[in-house]
Symmetry: C2
Amino acid sequence: MKNIPLFLIGCGGVGRQLLQHIVSCRSLHSTQGLCLRVVGVGDSKSLVAVDDLLHKGLDDSFLLELCRVKGAGESLSKLRDFGACQTFVHPESQGRILEIASQLGRKTGLVFVDCSASSDTVSVLKQAIDMGCCAVMANKKPLTSTMEDFKKLFMYPRRIRHESTVGAGLPVIASLNRITSSGDPVRQIIGSLSGTLGYVMSEVEDGKPLSQVVRDAKSLGYTEPDPRDDLGGMDVARKALILARILGHQINLDSIQIESLYPKEMGPDVMTVEDFMDRGVLLLDKDIQDRVEKAASNGNVLRYVCVIEGSRHLLFPFFTMCEVGIQELPKNSPLGRLRGSDNVLEIYTRCYSNQPLVIQGAGAGNDTTAAGVLADIVDIQDLFP
Amino acid sequence: MKNIPLFLIGCGGVGRQLLQHIVSCRSLHSTQGLCLRVVGVGDSKSLVAVDDLLHKGLDDSFLLELCRVKGAGESLSKLRDFGACQTFVHPESQGRILEIASQLGRKTGLVFVDCSASSDTVSVLKQAIDMGCCAVMANKKPLTSTMEDFKKLFMYPRRIRHESTVGAGLPVIASLNRITSSGDPVRQIIGSLSGTLGYVMSEVEDGKPLSQVVRDAKSLGYTEPDPRDDLGGMDVARKALILARILGHQINLDSIQIESLYPKEMGPDVMTVEDFMDRGVLLLDKDIQDRVEKAASNGNVLRYVCVIEGSRHLLFPFFTMCEVGIQELPKNSPLGRLRGSDNVLEIYTRCYSNQPLVIQGAGAGNDTTAAGVLADIVDIQDLFP
């Protein structure tokens, strides 16, 4: 039986779903000769870990209780009296994470699983990788930090997996890695990587005013509490940056041209959410409607996409283009046919030159994202003794 | 530098393309810390191998000469005087393959790459896996042999990769493995896995007679020399069987219901190819046309697909259904929208329940198939020291 120790950072929606998947897959993984041993869980404030790092794991009833406690908005330190574990609170917890990494990293291996949404994990991840650990991430922030951080994280590329940073559980990164490792140069990626913006663009295509579509999307729970977090395009830009970097482009977030669907004068530092929803977004209706009509008159539709130009030579990728915004696309292409909140990626390579390789499906949701993280963990197993 | 010894069985179109990819990816793989060392190449009649199995590989000029020689329809034994190698001819070559497997298997590891289209390789593959080797296959035959053979090949599941057995280089198997390892039960797979039959069905949808479409497909080189090899559905059934087995269904080829597009009375043992093309296929036009019209009146289209029902429980898959044939599908589904020779797979799981995960792209071709094989080889690297 192969024993894979895990330390989970972040136990919000995705982290808790991951713990539940790990528990419910116990017998499945055991038939595959795998045992996932959760040695500790930490959030921004505190940390719980087993006493005996080398041999024990937090047991399943403890993990489920942890999910219950965190789901109720309580602190991990509440678990002090539930089961055999140590608890640490900030700032002591930071040091303890690195102790765990150094104890397990070279000895048995350890997977750091980052299901937080924080920029603060990059430092611990870099050190953990240096200490022989692996990292599996749903968190986009460390991979969209400086190029120096990115390179440090990928110093041992086999030790890092991050499928769920782009398109949740969709096999996007795995497929791109297969394509590049087989020497098939990626010429272009064009993708709709925001379910919210996918929904918005297909609804305005039907003639609905943008303001109404955004209001509907917000009330359906498709948007962030402040819909401008979606409409600004930054989340898509982070995903585009990750794709561009794994294609070899050495660029930063600020070199990506990002089209925001609202102007600076309607930004969060100028208008409240209520103001934007009641007044601001109405002023955007006309412009979007004009663009939709212009596209339609060309037989096209508008989609909010990322476009990444690749290189024809795998070894010497040169930066050509990475941008995020509204594009006119043929109504009859995979992206043009997209309806609703699915993500779609069209990948053009030497092998997929006229007709792209297309990957489409739900690109968000805790269940789907956690499934992608778990698949990464299982896939990394050959690095463990 | 990680050194991965390979032995290639079969050097037809796919095998030769693989060797060319290996040579052209030398510097790319070297930046990734990988060296693919081809220690030998065999076909059904003979075999060439390096003298010093533990340290050397056939050099690149030798591999390219080998591609030239085999491409010209000549024998591997022609290479006797070209570079430092040993050559063996049948039946001596069979034994020599196993000697190579036993010498390298436990010592440095060895990847057997099966790019043949032969049923005869299953025995050597099984023995090689027993000896500690890995297997990467484009050849469907060993995986569609008896259930006993299949289980033997998958005795160490991490040692066997076979992406290119279904949909050429499309990330179908990799995606299914990710889905199942994350505990997301596959409820249904429905796929168009024959470029030829995809083309045929979308052309008859446009109102063209089947006979004309088959004639066109044959002259475009889309079909086997005898188009009945495509129209019979056996190739699709083999792919369906592989998918069903990796979902856990313990079934054989003869338990799959296969709809042939021509009746037994037009089989190869009754009619010549010429007879079939001149006379037989014309008799099929009316029936297909009626079915196309009936489907259209329901707002549907006809597609030649495989349908595999999964199980709701990953641990106890029970066989529900695996069939291959014409189905009426909604015009507006990913399969319904399919035009031309792309392969499309719709995968329904817990995470992808209403809208499927869709993978679409070219599912045939030597380049694409060899790229899938090469990605499998690179992906297996963590099993090597």
